[in-house]
């Protein structure tokens, strides 16, 4: 029923279609791309869009269209995995902290505040500098940076839910604390959580692009959208198309996740259920 209501919502439908298109692109990248994304072709350096190279080529003659197509894989890999890491740890930390309260809550939440007090991208840059440039390290860095957002949201929901009578009733029927957290409380936190997940996916894509742009993301030959932009930076005045297409890809994906998130917030509002 929730899915049906999501698809009736126009913005939600558009968002879902955009995300679906990008996911399909990532899965079928070899079929959609026209060239090898890493193949260097010195005869066609920095070309404008043409029949042969739909989005033009970069300074090594690589086909930007194919690189953008393959880039969707890296982008989705990093954004989904990093948000999954953040969700897993954030939910656990937030739920335990909110449910048990007391000194556990105080200590954990001050730690989360400490992490949050750094600008996210700065902290990610710091972590990347320590861990070294590698796709999975980007996942770890971004995942870590986003943990507090999830912890805070879940803690807030748990705090408001644990005073509810159904939790008291569950205690009165002899259920244990962790059983109550996972079976009774967390399912009621899903609405804000799902919205936060979609919003974070959008942030993670932007952050990954920013990291790649600064040379701290996916290591260079890899066609991440940030890398493509970064490579294009020096040629922006001669061939503006080099920056436009990866930029559009990033914008579209972020837009898709944001639209989907907004629609989900409306659809999952328990008052409308």
């Amino acid at each position: 029923m929730a899915i049906k209501r999501l698809l009736i919502n126009k913005m939600g439908l558009i968002g879902a279609l955009i995300i679906l298109a990008i996911v399909l692109t990532a899965i079928f990248a070899p079929l959609i791309a026209t060239h090898e994304p890493l193949k260097i072709d010195m005869l066609h350096q920095v070309e404008l869009p043409s029949d042969q190279f739909w989005f033009g080529t970069d300074e090594y003659g690589r086909d930007i269209y194919s690189r953008v197509i393959y880039g969707s894989r890296i982008t989705l890999y990093i954004s989904i995995l990093s948000v999954a890491v953040a969700t897993l740890f954030g939910v656990l930390i937030g739920a335990v902290s909110g449910y048990f309260g007391g000194w556990i809550d105080t200590i954990v939440m001050r730690l989360m505040d400490a992490v949050m007090s750094f600008p996210a991208i700065l902290l990610a840059i710091g972590i990347m500098a320590v861990l070294g440039g590698n796709l999975n390290n980007v996942v770890i860095a971004l995942g870590f940076v986003y943990i507090p957002r999830f912890a805070r949201i879940v803690r807030g929901s748990v705090l408001s839910l644990k005073g509810k009578e159904f939790v008291e009733a569950a205690l009165a029927t002899g259920k244990g604390d962790f059983y109550i957290i996972f079976r009774h409380i967390l399912p009621n936190c899903m609405a804000p959580l799902i919205v936060q997940i979609t919003a974070s996916l959008a942030y993670a894509i932007l952050a990954e692009s920013a990291l790649s742009f600064l040379g701290l993301g996916a290591p260079p030959p890899a066609p991440s959208w940030g890398n493509i932009l970064s490579d294009a930076r020096n040629f922006m005045l001669d061939n503006v198309w080099m920056t436009v297409f990866p930029g559009i890809a990033i914008t579209l994906t972020v837009l898709g996740f944001n639209l989907l998130g907004d629609a989900l917030r409306d659809v999952l509002d328990p008052r409308l259920r």
Binding site: A172, N188, P270, R273
Partner: protein, 327 residues
């Protein structure tokens, strides 16, 4: 009335709340017992410690509350000696509880079927299939039509009365010895109240479950309880059979409560008579008056009342009160 074996005994229970403003003695020295299959009414104003007593029985007093001393025995076994996991075995199985607000006592995220099945499977090693059959049977017993279909409903699809009956079904799934009913009908329409109570009484009678009926509604108690405990400011001020309490109330507080019941049609026809109002308020639990807690509001106050708390005195068979008037 034949004295039945006592199933639940509460002795000198003290539950205090350690707040920033000081120690609130929500329950200070409560003793009473419940016999097998009987209905015990616990009455008192808001803040008299009725609900905290019930939560103490389950050892679920919320922070910053703490059970300070006393004993609560279920079939002779002191519940305060049990480990937390043994205590969990008792909750919902031997002693279960229903709450005031059926609207929010069921988890909104699950169907009522899931909740009933889960409640069974927490305590009994049975298959989902068997649990489901038992849930259907139980829903039928609380007069829910089409129980098979209702199992798939979410709480918000049910009316208040139905939800409270589902709660009763859940509480009685495992044939508990004692059912703690904390204001079970206060949140319901008057017309639905009778229906819900009827279901509750019928089922517990069949199972031999004792009910501790916590309420401020004296009418409810007069109609259904066997014995009554009257609480004031964390103490039991009077205890007796329904007849004792309603025909022969001894404690000035009980007398005041009885006089405060509006009688429908009373002011019609006859000369308009004003409803009795007990003067004063229930005292702050952090600053209970010396001596008898009720003395500042009592019209029979004597000098000793403000100095020493009155002892418990037996005034007749099973009729006890704590008041200096009788000592």
């Amino acid at each position: 009335m034949n004295p039945m074996p006592q199933i639940l005994e509460i002795e000198d229970l003290q539950t205090h709340f350690y707040t920033r403003q000081g120690i609130a003695k929500a329950v200070c020295g409560v003793s009473f017992h419940v016999s097998e299959g009987e209905i015990l009414g616990v009455v008192g104003e808001s803040g008299s410690g009725k609900s905290v007593t019930a939560l103490s029985i389950l050892r679920l007093v919320p922070f910053p509350g703490k059970i300070v001393s006393g004993e609560i025995r279920l079939k002779g076994q002191n519940l305060f000696d049990l480990t937390p996991s043994d205590m969990r075995q008792i909750r919902g199985d031997r002693i279960s509880m229903i709450f005031q607000e059926p609207m929010i006592s069921l988890n909104p995220a699950f169907t009522i079927g899931d909740q009933l099945i889960e409640a069974l499977r927490v305590h009994r090693k049975i298959s989902r299939r068997e649990a489901r059959d038992r849930a259907v049977e139980m829903l039928g017993q609380v007069d829910i039509s089409n129980p098979e279909m209702r199992l798939e409903d979410y709480p918000h699809q049910l009316s208040g009365g139905m939800r409270q009956r589902v709660m009763i079904a859940e509480a009685l799934l495992l044939n508990p010895n004692v059912l703690l009913a904390d204001e079970p009908t206060t949140a319901l329409d008057v017309t639905v109240q009778a229906q819900v109570l009827d279901v509750m009484y019928r089922l517990t009678q069949d199972m031999g479950t004792a009910i501790v009926l916590i309420t401020h509604n004296l009418g409810l108690v007069a109609e259904s309880a066997d014995r009554v405990v009257v609480m004031y400011a964390g103490r039991v001020v009077e205890e007796g059979t329904v007849t004792d309490i309603f025909q022969d109330a001894l404690h000035p507080y009980t007398q005041g409560l009885l006089k405060s019941i509006p009688i429908p049609g009373h002011s019609l026809g006859r000369q308009r008579e004003e409803l009795y109002e007990m003067k004063g308020m229930i005292p702050s639990l952090q600053r209970l008056p010396e001596g008898c807690s009720f003395h500042p509001r009592c019209s029979f106050v004597k000098e000793i009342c403000s100095q020493t708390p009155p002892p418990r005195k037996e005034m007749g068979p099973m009729h006890f009160t704590q008041c200096w008037l009788y000592s």
